[in-house]
Structures are given as C-alpha cells and as structure tokens.
Amino acid sequence: MTSYTVYMDQLPGLLELWAKEFQVHVPVEVEEGIYDFVPWRKDEEIAWEYDVAYNTLKRFFLPPRETLLRFDPAACTAEVVCEAPKQLLFGVHPYDVKAANQLDTLMRKDVPDNNFIARKKNTVIFALEPAAVARNAFWASVDAHKVDNGYDLYWTRISSASFHVEVATRRGKELLLAGGPLDLATDADKEATRRAHQRIVKESLRNGLKYPWRETADILSRAWDSTLWQHRARHCFSCGTCNLVCPTCYCFDMKEELDNSLTKGERYREWDGCMMDSFSRVAGDHNFRPHTRERFRHRYYRKGKYIFDKIGQLGCVGCGRCVSGCTSGIADPKAVFNELWEADRHDS
C-alpha cells in the first residue's frame, strides 16, 4: 500500500484546500484536558496527542436529531429528507473508526437505512494513530486498536515535524496529493510507524479485559441471573449518559412537530437510550424493562452478546467514554465483563 511522508508545515495548505470542499472537523483541546472534534479554522491548534474525543463521532452520521420527512398534514403527503453534507473528519482514532464501521454494518443490515448510509458515504475519514490512551480506555483488549477499512488515510505522527500517511482509498490519495506531489515514505518512516503503533497498543493493553474478548458472549450466556446487575444498577439514575456518549449506541425515537401555522411539519429521529425508563414502555403503561437492573443488563448484553451474535464483533470498542460519563460510576464495561468472567471461572 502506498504511503507518504507529510511534514507539519505542509498541513495548513492542505487543510485549506480540503476546507474548500468539505466541512473539516479536527480534535482540539476544548477545556483543560478535554478534547473534542470542532470545525477546523485557520490557526486552530489541532490536538494531535488527544486521548479521546469527549463526544462520540456518531453524531456525524447519526445526528442527535435528524429530519427524515417533511409533511403537509392537510394534504397528507410527505417527502423524504436525506441530508448528507460533505464532511472530513481528520484525526479519528481507530476505535472510533471501528465504531463507525460497526454502525455502518448494522444500518445496512436487512432494510438499509439510507439517511445514515448517505451521510457515511459523504464523510471522509482520516484516521490517526493515538499517541495517548485515555484513563478509562481499554480499546486494545477489545480488538479495536486496529482497523482495516472505513478510513481514507491513516496518519501516524512519527516525529514532531512529520507524519507517515498510509493511503487506503483513491479518494484519500487524491485529497492527500491535492496540493502537489509528496515524498514517498522511507523504510525508516514505516518502521517508526510500526513502533508507534506497538508502543500505544502496549500502553492500552495495561488496562482491559482479563480474558480474550471473543469469550464475552459466551460468558454472558451464563450471566443472566448474576447478582452483578442488581449490585451495580442499584446506583443507576437512568440518566442515559452512557447511551449518549457511546459510539456504538444507535437507538432512536421517532417524533414530529408542526410549524406555527400548523400547515407544515417534520418527522425526525432523536437519540434515545435503553437505560431510560420510558424506552420499552408500551401502550397501557406496560413496561418490558421496568427496573434499572433489567435495563442495565440489557445494555451490556447488547454490547457483549446481541451484536456479537449478529455480526461477530463486540458492541464495545473500549473508548471508555461511558466510564467517564457515568453519573454514579457504575458503567464500566471492562469492570462488568471482568467481574462476570471471574464469577464464571469460579462456577465452572
């Protein structure tokens, strides 16, 4: 695969070129020690060494609120709305690329969700090798330290002044060479890239699952009656933060609203969360998961088993956002899974 060496001082020119065609988003330090993707502006200092983006990147493909239809209630007609801005996410860590790939697979399954697919298609992703591991992250232990698709270019910072950039798609190559020819990467640069990857994976592995991630679904298949669910969920506020910050949670609600004249309206979808009490309530006020322990368990089954049973991947990429975001400190997938594994080992 072709790869190039890009020098730091070549970047401003390239970013300007890309920004003509795309809404470019980059990671920056938004508050001390807190990073997030924001629209790129000239002179914006990109946080190349960010550990994790505070908010999940799913918002670029599945916005928190997305209009799906515009309708005329009197005529009873509706037209499809499918907005897909051209956007470029520069600096996406592999675990977030993996999460986006997973959403893509699930949204294409059975009946494809064209709104999601259109947005994803119009999004250029420049992946970036992480240079730091967030305190609560454990992505290497859940197989999310590497991805082999779902990005256009893969950037690794190999010195304070240069990057090694591996080309993954034609679109990526065209954008990379938009400002003119670049130096092909040398063997030394490739070696530096390999070492950077090894170093960070090693660091990420310090914190993680104590067993091979593939066993999670199997462990869960025997954990339905574990007391862990009750123990942890006793402190759950059902706030849904873990759902909101999770890069692989994609449940949504369908809602609609009319304009002031009541002659036009739109139907939209809005992020929803299975941790919320209202999530599985049906007509007649019956609730299929009325207790926090049931909702808590459902979430971990979905991450560890249901998605695995469907597509062979863990529904958790180990980003640790839920751990950091949880109001009462109970939402930690690695702690939950490790505890269940310990109990399972003890039982068998």
Partner: protein
C-alpha cells in the same frame, strides 16, 4: 430495489372508508390505499400508521389478506395520542401508511391441522386475520377452535361476528370474562379456564395466541401439558416499534427485533429468550 428500501421512512397515503365502533374504546377502521394496490400483508403482520402532526404507531392488520378489493382493516383501542387522533377521524380523511412489516403466522403450516386460537383481550385483532383466512379456505383446515377472554363484558369486541361464528357448526367458540356483570351469562374465569373443556388431538393441533404479556406463560404451560409441541405453538409478541425496520431498538426482545424477526414467533424459537414470555 423496492420503494421500501429507497424511502424506508416515507409513508404512502390511504383513505378512511369506514369506521365502526366495536366497544367504548375500540373502533374498526377500514382503509383504502390511495395507490389502489392491496397491502399484500400476511396474517400477523403490522403496519406503521401516521397521523401527521401527531405521530406514527404500529398496528396489526385485522383483516385477512386481500379481503375485499384492496381495503384493509385495523381495530384500534383509544389509548394514546395517535389512537385518539384516529378515533376523531371522519370517513374520507387520510392517513399515511408504511409496511407491512414483520413475520406472519405461517399459513401453510396450518393446512390440514386443527387450530386453537387463543385471544386475550385485544389479541383477537391480529388473530382475526388468520382466522378469517382459514374460514375463507375452510376446507383446507381441520378444526377451528376459538378461545376468547376479556377482562369484563364491556371490553368484548367483534361481538356480532363472534355470535356468527358460534352459530356455525364448523367452528368451536369458547368465551370467558375475568369478571362478569349482570349482562353476562357466559363463562367467568381466566382464559386458562377454557382449554381444559376441549378435547384435542395434540399431534395435529396448532396454537396461535395473542394477548396481554401476562397471558402467554400460563397458556403455553397448559398447551404443553396437553401434549402440544412447542414447535406448533405460535405467539405474536407486541412491542412498541418505532422504525419498523430493525434499527431503533425499541422492540428488542433480548437480541431479537420484534419488528423484523417477529412479531410472530414459534414458541420453540423464543423459549430461551427470558425477555420474550
């Protein structure tokens, strides 16, 4: 690609052509798709119905496939925003529909077999589609045994149709209410009180059951005690589907999406799913 895959969330218009009150809370709505084309649903499937400006909700189709021309029927209880708005509709008004969605009762598996219909409360609504299909092709099916249970006599629906069924000699109808009143001189007791009165041949009996969540496990236990195989017990599990296409997560029963892998399940396939029954 069918239109469904292109515009997965866009409803098409249908017009209300008839409205008939079934009880104080339940009304039977007959709709005609404006396209003139029949819904092409199978018994047990559901559609998503839009009352623009109010919302969208899932409803089981109550009429058998292609009952008369291209109209279809929904029997709806007034209970939330969408259903209240539906009850306020006048004939000639329009709604949006998309679907049909989900699995259906596998009609071919019932051919030549005896069928017990177990309808708890509004469960009669989706079962009616299969029941009327069987009645239309009466010769192809064995005994038709219909068991209906309601909380009280005022909640009974399709009263006249059920009376007509009772008058037929090729249909066996058993009805009960949980609590009787002065107007009721029939059976009083839970729906589980009906099955013991019926002689069945478990080897050729299929069960189709729809009712409130609490009903299933008791009736299933009873059916199994009578020797009916879990392969021949079909249930329709209703959840609040929001997207209808297996994405939004609302109707999940463990790892299953009730909108795609259900709502009709063979009991054998869901018995290990603790959230199902």
């Amino acid at each position: 690609m069918t239109p469904d895959t292109l515009f997965q969330y866009v409803p098409t218009p249908a017009t209300l052509v008839k409205k008939e009150k079934l009880s104080d809370f339940v009304t039977l709505f007959t709709f005609q798709p404006d396209s003139g084309r029949a819904l092409m649903h199978k018994p047990g499937q559901f559609i998503m119905l839009s009352m623009y400006g109010v919302g969208e909700a899932p409803f089981s189709v109550s009429s058998p496939p292609n009952a008369s021309g291209s109209t279809f029927e929904l029997a709806v209880r007034r209970i939330g925003n969408v259903t209240n708005a539906m009850h306020a509709m006048k004939v000639g008004q329009k709604v949006g529909i998309r679907g049909p969605y989900g699995t259906s009762f596998p009609v071919q598996d019932f051919v030549g077999k005896d069928t017990i219909f177990v309808a708890g409360g509004l469960g009669y609504i989706p079962l009616r589609s299969l029941l009327h299909y069987q009645l239309r092709h009466r010769d192809e099916f064995g005994r038709i045994i219909v068991m209906i249970g309601c909380r009280n006599p005022s909640e009974r629906i399709f009263i006249d149709q059920i009376k007509e069924l009772e008058a037929r000699d090729d249909v066996e109808v058993y009805e009960t209410v949980d609590c009787g009143d002065e107007s009721w001189c029939g059976n009083v007791g839970l729906i589980t009180s009906l099955l013991p009165h019926v002689e069945i041949d478990p080897d050729i009996t299929h069960v189709a059951m729809v009712g409130p969540p609490v009903m299933y496990k008791f009736v299933i236990k009873q059916c199994q005690a009578r020797g009916i195989s879990r392969e021949n017990i079909y249930v329709s599990l209703e959840r609040h589907m929001k997207c209808g296409i297996g994405k939004c997560g609302h109707c999940q029963i463990n790892g299953l999406n009730a909108c795609v892998e259900g709502p009709v399940f063979k009991y054998h396939d869901i018995q290990t799913h603790p959230e199902a029954i």
